[in-house]
């Protein structure tokens, strides 16, 4: 067993090498060996999937060899693809080895009677399918629907996070996990990262439809009370994502600026940790608005893009008041308090909060009439 554990510890190094320029010296034989290792790890995965103690042991050893948790036990199952595709993309691989690689990828050794997902021809086919299915430009998608690419990225993120939360040692690792998550999300341009996180948080609210799609690979073998484990797991995952969001004020501020009001209201409605900080943020932005008597409206004090304009602010507050009862109550109370603090004016142009409250209530009245 110790021998196996030692071998498993080598996987991160193997992957790292396959992505580096060190492959320059590889010949066909070396490549064959690398692919064989890939298959061996996959075999280990298949054998130990249903044995929780061994899984854990292997998973732990795997993490030992890495600075940040890049890989866990489930990745052993994906080894041939991870290796194969990494090598394919590595331009430093010499021709002889590359040729062997291509052959190896197209014709996996041994009886490929296993599940189809492991076939690369299927991958090419699916990639083409994704192009074809995107072609018919029909009526615009309903707003409730998430764009498929976004949904996919969110699903994969969730799947990984679920693995992290369940497989890794609990408690003490929280800070490390957060760092890792930050690192991962930094791979995306920030607006995209925000969209993905928001989508992931929304997907967590609908466990049924999502369970089969994402996270299957991570959770196979856990024959425990699945609902129980997955519920607490999901809480952990949500907690992690929210920590990332709320941990950095600048980031949170950018998040709230970038995403539309309706989406934020939806999130704040389900994740109460978000409502207070969001309101505080809006309060801050609102207080920095100045009244321009010449134009007769509220304007930004400096044309700093990282803040909301009056119209946007109004729209945000309106959305909030159309959210859940709790949220609506919180918002209206906040507005009342702010208006009072400013002097409780009833006339326009003196306090931004007075004006806001007036316009929001006006809008809601009109909506109610319709």
């Amino acid at each position: 067993m110790e021998a196996v554990l030692e071998q498993v510890e080598q996987l991160p190094a193997l992957l790292a090498v396959s992505r580096s320029a060190l492959v320059r010296d590889w010949d066909a034989l070396t490549l064959d060996r690398a692919l064989e290792w890939g298959r061996y790890f996959q075999h280990l995965h298949d054998r130990f999937r249903t044995r929780p103690r061994l899984r854990e042991a292997l998973g732990r050893r795997l993490r030992r060899g890495q600075p940040s948790p890049l890989l866990g036990f489930p990745h052993l199952g994906r080894c041939p693809q991870l290796l194969g595709l990494a090598l394919l993309e590595n331009r430093a691989l010499p021709p002889a080895a590359c040729r062997r690689l291509i052959r190896g990828l197209l014709q996996p050794a041994g009886a490929e009677a296993g599940p189809e997902p492991r076939s690369l021809a299927l991958l090419a086919r699916r990639k083409a399918a994704s192009r074809l299915l995107a072609l018919p430009s029909g009526p615009p998608r309903t707003p409730e629907g998430m764009a498929p690419q976004l949904r996919t990225e969110a699903q994969l993120l969730l799947s990984r996070l679920r693995e992290e939360v369940q497989e890794a040692e609990p408690a003490g690792e929280a800070a490390g996990r957060l760092r890792w998550l930050s690192g991962v999300l930094e791979e995306l341009p920030q607006p995209r990262a925000f969209e993905v996180v928001a989508a992931a948080l929304l997907l967590l609210l609908r466990p049924g439809s999502d369970a089969e799609q994402a996270g299957d690979r991570g959770r196979d073998g856990k024959s425990l009370d699945r609902n129980q484990a997955s519920a607490t797991g999901d809480e952990g995952v949500a907690g992690l994502l929210l920590s990332w969001l709320l941990g950095n004020l600048e980031r949170f501020s950018a998040f709230c600026l970038f995403l539309p009001g309706s989406l934020l209201v939806s999130l704040a409605g389900h994740y109460s940790q978000l409502s207070r900080p969001y309101l505080d943020l809006l309060t801050g932005w609102g207080s920095r608005l100045l009244y321009d008597p010449l134009q007769g409206r509220w304007v930004k004090s400096c044309l700093d893009k990282a803040e909301l304009s009056w119209e946007e602010l109004r729209e945000r507050f309106t959305c909030l008041c159309q959210g859940s009862a709790l949220l609506r109550g919180q918002t209206q109370a906040a507005l009342k308090l702010l208006k009072a603090r400013d002097g409780d004016f009833t006339v326009c142009g003196l306090s931004v909060w007075t004006d806001l409250q007036m316009e929001v209530e006006e809008y809601l009245r009109k909506e109610a009439k319709r």
Binding site: A28, P95, P136
Partner: protein, 558 residues
């Protein structure tokens, strides 16, 4: 088509021109054209691969200088890549062209280009800017493009399915949320992807989709391709979807029926259970619960029978099909049409009598029932109104498809104490429906003679082949074919059901199969008897044993 190892140059240029014409298949015409050519293209790629795999990469480029262009262009056509196994073959071709020891910059460049193409097909492509960010993110998570695209396709199928299904619940397409041209486009883009398992929910939804218009919305390429895939068992669809396909696309139904007939007639079957199994799997008997489908299938069967001059194989298929159809109809829970609706132009009392399944009546009543059928039939046929050959054929076809009763008639003649004339007439009619030149009357006379002879021998416990020789002479010498069939039928039953016949059955049948060409017919009769006995269960052990032995021997020979 493949001529040895050389791919005809003409084809190469043809396909290269096509590839250039198609581009990335962005216009509707090019898309339709690609869909039409996908199977041949796959075949062609396969031929190329077979040629390339024996060659060195340098030789390959020398012999096919334009191959790079062709493969490159095809790699950018998602219809081609999405289809069946084309992507596999393409990638193999690329692999063959990759040089493991590049000697010059040209080869190096070619290698690099092949590498890029493969990356384009399998992971992230440097030619597509939007893929770069996603792919780093995915790989940092520890996943590969395999995982990504697996989920992505599902996530793309799901909203399409919801969109289409959602429209159904609105009833009429008043809101027009999904336009007919949109649905048509979706169906076209699905054509290459039909055998991709992720798409099955979408296929199902499309097949069950009915817009507001009476015109067919789905593209015919799609309907044909789905039918083809279903027939070759490359996909499995729920019954409702298959029925919907056949109801909306007549050519598919025709193809399915002919395919079934073809399958059953070319393969040698050892038992009717096997035949029944194949027919049931085809879903046609179940589909025939829709009267429109029943009518079409019926016509095709009739034509097949006429074209093959009434071969027993085709007749057997029709008989088993009819039985299965009746079973399926009985099991149908939703709204059912009365059985008479499927046979609208026929004499109702006769039809009702034929529709009774034998197991619904006590065995002692069978001969009476058959007499009833025979009498009605006789009255119908000898009525001067039935003048045209077509009408006669219709009546004959109706009776013939309920072959069970005919077989039972032959059995009853020998097993039970019956008045023979009515039953003999029934059989005579079956084997010889026409009577312009008194053929049927003649048949009847001769049959009666043979029958009397057999009945006399029935009680003999010891028989020899010589005793039956008179009857054998009857088969060999009588010119009329219909008589040969009828007598063979009676003889076979005699051997099965008389104790004397048991003794000499093996020997006699051997003799018959060697000296006449009746072996297939005898085999067919025995198979039908076996099937009937297995399902009705009432028969003495001796007969069952004999039957199995005879069948074993015969199926080896035939």
């Amino acid at each position: 088509m493949a001529q040895g190892t050389t791919v005809p140059k003409l084809n190469f240029e043809y396909w290269l021109d096509k590839a250039i014409e198609w581009g990335q298949a962005t216009t509707l015409e090019s898309q339709k054209d690609v869909c039409l050519h996908l199977p041949q293209l796959q075949e062609f790629l396969h031929q190329i691969y077979e040629t390339l795999k024996h060659m060195d990469s340098i030789v390959a480029i020398q012999q096919f200088p334009l191959i790079g262009q062709l493969l490159g262009r095809l790699c950018w056509n998602p219809f081609v890549i999405g289809y069946d196994e084309s992507q596999k073959t393409l990638m193999w071709c690329l692999c063959c062209l990759y040089s493991s020891e590049p000697q010059n910059p040209v080869e190096l460049k070619a290698n690099s280009w092949i590498r890029s193409l493969l990356c384009h097909l399998l992971s992230s492509s440097k030619w597509e800017s939007n893929e770069a960010e996603t792919s780093t993110f995915i790989s940092t998570l520890g996943y590969t493009s395999a995982d990504y695209y697996c989920h992505l396709v599902k996530n793309m199928v799901f909203p399409l399915v919801t969109e289409l299904r959602g429209n159904q619940f609105n009833g009429l397409n008043i809101q027009g949320r999904v336009s007919a041209s949109h649905v048509n486009a979706v169906s076209l883009f699905c054509v290459p992807l039909i055998t991709l398992p992720d798409l099955t929910p979408l296929l199902e939804t499309l097949l069950l989709y009915h817009g507001g218009t009476s015109k067919e919305i789905l593209s015919s390429e799609f309907l044909e391709a789905v039918n083809e895939a279903f027939l070759k068992k490359k996909i499995s669809l729920p019954e409702s979807a298959v029925f919907s396909l056949w109801l909306r696309h007549l050519p598919s139904l025709e193809k399915a029926t002919l395919y079934l007939l073809d399958q059953l007639v070319t393969i040698q079957f050892n038992s009717l259970e096997e035949v029944a199994c194949v027919i049931k799997d085809s879903l046609l008997p179940q589909a025939a619960s829709h009267p429109a489908i029943f009518r079409i299938v019926n016509e095709i069967f009739k034509n097949a029978l006429l074209e093959t001059d009434g071969t027993p194989e085709v007749m057997t298929v029709i008989q088993v099909f009819t039985q299965l159809f009746l079973q399926a109809h009985q099991n149908e829970n939703k709204r059912k049409f009365p059985l008479k609706a499927y046979f609208p132009y026929h004499h109702q009392p006769l039809l009702t009598a034929l529709l009774r399944r034998p197991f619904e009546l006590p065995t002692t009543y069978w001969s009476q029932h058959l007499k009833h059928i025979s009498d009605m039939l006789k009255a119908l046929v000898e009525d001067t109104n039935i003048s045209s050959l077509a009408d006669l054929f219709e009546i004959w076809f109706l009776v013939a498809r309920f072959g069970e009763w005919l077989d039972i008639a032959a059995e009853q003649l020998l097993k039970a104490a019956v008045e023979p004339d009515a039953l003999l007439w029934l059989l005579a009619f079956y084997y010889c429906p026409q009577n312009e030149n008194q053929q049927r009357t003649q048949t009847m006379v001769e049959a009666q003679a043979v029958y009397k002879h057999l009945k006399m021998l029935f009680s003999c416990t010891v028989l020899s082949v010589k005793h039956l020789e008179a009857a054998v002479h009857g088969i060999m010498n009588i010119e009329q074919r219909c008589n040969q069939h009828l007598i063979t039928h009676l003889l076979t039953n005699f051997l099965l059901f008389s104790s004397g016949g048991h003794m000499i059955a093996q020997e006699f049948i051997c003799h018959v199969t060697e000296t006449t060409d009746r072996s297939k017919e005898v085999c067919s009769l025995l198979i039908r008897s076996a099937y009937r006995i297995n399902h009705n269960g009432e028969e003495n052990q001796g007969t069952v044993k004999l039957l199995n032995e005879l069948l074993q021997k015969l199926t080896l020979k035939v």
